[in-house]
C-alpha cells in the first residue's frame, strides 16, 4: 500500500476528532429519542449513556495501552489468525454500517431542510466528495478539519445562551419522574440515544496513530460530549416541552429555526453554515475508520482503490434508505450494535481474554 497517506495525529487533534464524530450528527435527533423513552426526564438517559460511553473509553484505552495496536492487530493477537480475521471482518462491517447510517442521517437532514428537489444521488455525490478527499489525505488532515467543531460548539452554546429566556425550566420537573411505557420502549430510546454517543469506539482504530498520551484526551472528548449532549437535551425539553419536543424530527434544527437577531433576522442559515462541516465530520470519521481497517486487512490493495470501493458501497447503501422512518429504524439498530457491541462488549471481552492468556503489557 504505497499510496497510503499519513495518519499520525496529536492528542489535541484526537479530542476534536472524537467530539466531531460524536456530536456532528448524533445531536440532531437526540432529545426526541430521549423524551420518547423516558418522558421529560429523558436527559437522565443521555447522562447515563454518557457515563457508559466513558466506561467504553476506559476499556478501549486500557486495551490500546496494553497492545499499542489497532483493533485489527489486537484481534489477530488474541483470537488467532482465523478468529482474528473473522472478528476484524465483523468490526469492518460494523464501521461500514455506521458510516452508512451517518450518511443516511446527513442526507435526510439535507432533504428536509435544504434540498428537496435535488435527486438523492446528486446530494450523495456532493456529500461524499469532501469526505473522499479528506480520507485520501489521511487521518491527520481529517483531524485538522475536525477542529471546526469548536466553532460549531461555540454557536451551539451561543444559541442556548441567547434563547435561555424562552425556556420554561419547570418542563424539566419532576426531576425523577420517568415515563418508561415498557422495557421495550426504554430499549428503543436507548438505541436512539446511542446514536448520539456513537463515535467513542473509533478509538479502537485510531488509538495507535495518536502521537503521545491518548487516554486523557479521549476522556476529555467523552466528557465534553456527554456534558454537551446532556445539557442540550435538558435545554430542548425546557424549550419545547415534552409533548412538542417529541414531534420535532431534529430538535436542534427546530430550535435553530426560532433563533433571531436584529438586522439579519433569521440566524438558522448562519448556524447551519457552521454546523454542516461538523455533520460531515461524523460521516467522515466512520468512513475513515472503515477504510483504515480495510487497509490493514488488505495491505496489498491500493489505498485509493479500497477507498473508492468502500465509498461506492456506502453511497449505494445510503441511496436505499430514502424513507425517513426506515432510515431512522436502521440507524438506531446499527447504532445500538455499534455502541454496545463495538464500544463496550468487544473491548471488555478482548481485555478479559488478554488477561487470561497473559497477552500484552
Amino acid at each position: 500500500m504505497a499510496d497510503a497517506p499519513r495518519h499520525e495525529i496529536t492528542p489535541g487533534q484526537l479530542v476534536g476528532f472524537l467530539i466531531s464524530s460524536q456530536l456532528g450528527l448524533g445531536i440532531l435527533g437526540l432529545p426526541r429519542y430521549a423524551v420518547e423513552g423516558l418522558g421529560h426526564a429523558g436527559w437522565w438517559l443521555v447522562l447515563g449513556l454518557g457515563l457508559v460511553s466513558l466506561a467504553g473509553i476506559a476499556l478501549i484505552t486500557s486495551l490500546g495501552g496494553r497492545f499499542r495496536a489497532s483493533i485489527v492487530g489486537i484481534n489477530f493477537t488474541i483470537l488467532g489468525k482465523t478468529g482474528g480475521f473473522l472478528a476484524n471482518l465483523l468490526v469492518f462491517l460494523l464501521f461500514l454500517a455506521s458510516s452508512l447510517t451517518n450518511l443516511a442521517v446527513y442526507l435526510q437532514t439535507m432533504r428536509i431542510f435544504f434540498f428537496r428537489e435535488t435527486p438523492t444521488w446528486v446530494l450523495t455525490a456532493f456529500l461524499v466528495a469532501p469526505t473522499f478527499y479528506q480520507i485520501t489525505k489521511g487521518l491527520k488532515v481529517i483531524a485538522r478539519f475536525d477542529t471546526f467543531v469548536y466553532l460549531a460548539l461555540f454557536f451551539l452554546l451561543a444559541m442556548m445562551a441567547t434563547n435561555v429566556a424562552k425556556a420554561e425550566w419547570s418542563f424539566l420537573f419532576p426531576l425523577t419522574r420517568f415515563r418508561p411505557e415498557n422495557l421495550a420502549g426504554l430499549a428503543r430510546a436507548a438505541m436512539g440515544v446511542a446514536f448520539g454517543f456513537l463515535g467513542h469506539e473509533l478509538l479502537l482504530v485510531v488509538y495507535p496513530w495518536v502521537e503521545g498520551e491518548a487516554r486523557g484526551p479521549a476522556f476529555l472528548a467523552g466528557g465534553v460530549t456527554a456534558l454537551v449532549l446532556t445539557s442540550f437535551t435538558a435545554f430542548a425539553v425546557a424549550f419545547f416541552g415534552e409533548p412538542f419536543l417529541s414531534k420535532q424530527v431534529f430538535p436542534l434544527l427546530g430550535i435553530v429555526r426560532t433563533w433571531q437577531a436584529p438586522v439579519v433576522d433569521r440566524l438558522d442559515i448562519y448556524f447551519l453554515m457552521f454546523w454542516l462541516p461538523a455533520m460531515g465530520a461524523g460521516f467522515t470519521a466512520f468512513l475513515a475508520a472503515a477504510q483504515l481497517i480495510a487497509a490493514e486487512l488488505f495491505p496489498r490493495l491500493s489505498y485509493r482503490l479500497l477507498l473508492l470501493l468502500i465509498s461506492g458501497l456506502v453511497s449505494t447503501g445510503a441511496l436505499f434508505l430514502r424513507d425517513f422512518d426506515t432510515a431512522e429504524s436502521v440507524v438506531q439498530m446499527i447504532a445500538a450494535v455499534d455502541f454496545f457491541g463495538l464500544g463496550l462488549a468487544l473491548p471488555a471481552l478482548l481485555l478479559v481474554l488478554a488477561r487470561l492468556k497473559g497477552l500484552g503489557k
Partner: protein
C-alpha cells in the same frame, strides 16, 4: 505545475455546478409573502390573504394583496401562485393574523404547514385581529403614512412587546403553550383603523380556541404575574382626596419583580403572588412640590389599584377557564401526584389566588 493547473481547472468547473442544484431559487423570480391573514369561511373552509411587496425601481415597495378561499393553507398558496408573477414563498413572512371567528374555531390545524415546512419562518409574529383578517389586510394596504405595511406591523408588534402592551407570540411559542399540559397560549390582539393598526392587548386561548381578551394594562399585569413583564406606562384615575386639577396620574414601570408560591391547603391549590413594581412618576399635578410622604401615599394608592386589577384579572381567567400563566404546569412539575389525580380544567376555575403588590416610585422626573 500541470497537476496544479488541472486541480484549479477542476475546481473552476466544479463551482459551475454548485448553484443549488435542482433547488435553485432565483430571488428576482420570486415573490415573498410578508404578511398572511386567515379567516373562517362556512363549511370548514378558510380565506387566505397574503400581502407581498411589489417593488418598483427607485420607489418604495407597494403592498399587493392576494385573496383566495380554500380548504388548507398550502392549497391557498398554490392557488395564489397561479396569480403571482413570481414563485410565491413564505420564507420571509413577518406576521400571520387570524380573524376573530377563525381564532374562535381553532387555529392549530392551520399552523401545521408553517411548522412542518422547514423553509417557513416559525418566529413570525402570530396575532389575532378584531373582525376579519381580510378586512384588516384590506385596510393595511391602504395605509399611506407608513413605509410598507408589513414592515410597519413588524415594528409595531416588536415595540408593543417591549412596552408590555402585548405578549410576544411566534408560531413555535404558540405550539409549545398549546401542547404543554397546564398551559394555555396567548397572542397579541389588534385592530385596523383607516390610517394605522391599533394594539388592543391579549387574545386568550383555551387550547387553540379564542375565548376572551385582555386590554393592554391587563396584559402588562398578566405578564407581570407570569414574571415576564418589562417596562410599561400606565395611567391611574386618582381618588378625590389625592386629586388636584388633573383626574389621573401616569407612571412608567421600569422594573417588575414577582414571587409566586403554590400551596395545597385542604387539597386545593392556592396561589400567593407577591408583585413589586419600580417606577417613575411621569405625570401628576400636585400644585406644589411633592413631599416624600405624599409620594408614599401615591405608591399605596397605585399598589391598591394594581391589586384590584390583579384580582379582576384572576377572576377573568377563572371565569374563562384559561391558564396562560401555566399554574397547571407548575402543579404538574411540583405537585405531580395532585396533578395526576385531578383534571386541571375542572380544578382551575376553583383555584384561589392572593395578591400583594408593592410599588416603589423611585423618582418624579426632572421636577418635583
Amino acid at each position: 505545475m500541470r497537476t496544479r493547473f488541472f486541480r484549479l481547472l477542476f475546481l473552476l468547473c466544479f463551482s459551475l455546478f454548485v448553484t443549488g442544484c435542482w433547488d435553485q431559487r432565483v430571488i428576482e423570480r420570486m415573490e415573498f409573502i410578508a404578511t398572511a391573514g386567515v379567516d373562517a369561511r362556512p363549511g370548514g373552509r378558510i380565506l387566505l390573504g397574503v400581502i407581498t411587496p411589489a417593488v418598483e425601481q427607485g420607489g418604495k415597495p407597494k403592498p399587493h394583496l392576494y385573496l383566495t378561499e380554500v380548504d388548507c393553507l398550502r392549497q391557498g398558496r398554490e392557488r395564489l401562485r397561479l396569480q403571482s408573477s413570481g414563485e410565491l414563498e413564505a420564507g420571509k413572512m413577518e406576521q400571520i393574523f387570524f380573524g376573530e371567528e377563525m381564532a374562535r374555531r381553532g387555529i392549530v390545524d392551520y399552523l401545521d404547514i408553517l411548522a412542518r415546512d422547514a423553509f417557513n419562518p416559525v418566529q413570525a409574529h402570530l396575532a389575532v385581529v378584531k373582525g376579519t383578517a381580510e378586512g384588516f389586510l384590506r385596510q393595511a394596504i391602504r395605509w399611506q403614512h407608513v413605509p410598507f405595511c408589513s414592515l410597519y406591523l413588524d415594528h409595531l408588534l416588536d415595540y408593543g412587546t417591549a412596552t408590555g402592551n402585548i405578549p410576544r407570540t411566534g408560531i413555535t411559542r404558540f405550539y409549545v403553550a398549546y401542547y404543554a399540559p397546564g398551559l394555555d397560549p396567548i397572542a397579541p390582539l389588534l385592530r385596523a383603523t383607516p390610517s394605522r393598526a391599533l394594539l388592543c392587548g391579549t387574545a386568550l386561548f383555551r387550547d387553540d380556541r379564542l375565548v376572551g381578551e385582555l386590554d393592554v394594562d391587563a396584559t402588562f399585569l398578566l405578564l407581570a404575574l407570569g414574571g415576564k413583564a418589562r417596562s410599561h406606562t400606565q395611567t391611574f384615575l386618582l381618588p378625590k382626596d389625592l386629586r388636584k386639577e388633573k383626574k389621573a396620574l401616569a407612571v412608567r414601570f421600569v422594573k417588575t419583580g414577582r414571587k409566586m408560591e403554590i400551596r395545597l391547603p385542604s387539597g386545593r391549590p392556592k396561589i400567593f403572588f407577591r408583585l413589586s413594581f419600580t417606577g417613575m412618576l411621569m405625570e401628576f399635578r400636585a400644585g406644589r412640590p411633592l413631599q416624600p410622604e405624599e409620594l408614599r401615599r401615591l405608591e399605596g394608592f397605585i399598589a391598591c389599584a394594581l391589586e384590584k386589577e390583579a384580582k379582576k384579572l384572576w377572576a377573568t381567567l377563572r371565569a374563562l377557564n384559561v391558564d396562560p400563566l401555566g399554574i397547571g404546569n407548575l402543579i404538574r412539575a411540583y405537585y405531580h401526584e395532585f396533578w395526576e389525580r385531578h383534571d386541571w380544567r375542572r380544578v382551575f376555575p376553583q383555584v384561589e389566588a392572593e395578591f400583594r403588590v408593592k410599588v416603589d416610585l423611585v423618582n418624579y422626573g426632572a421636577i418635583r
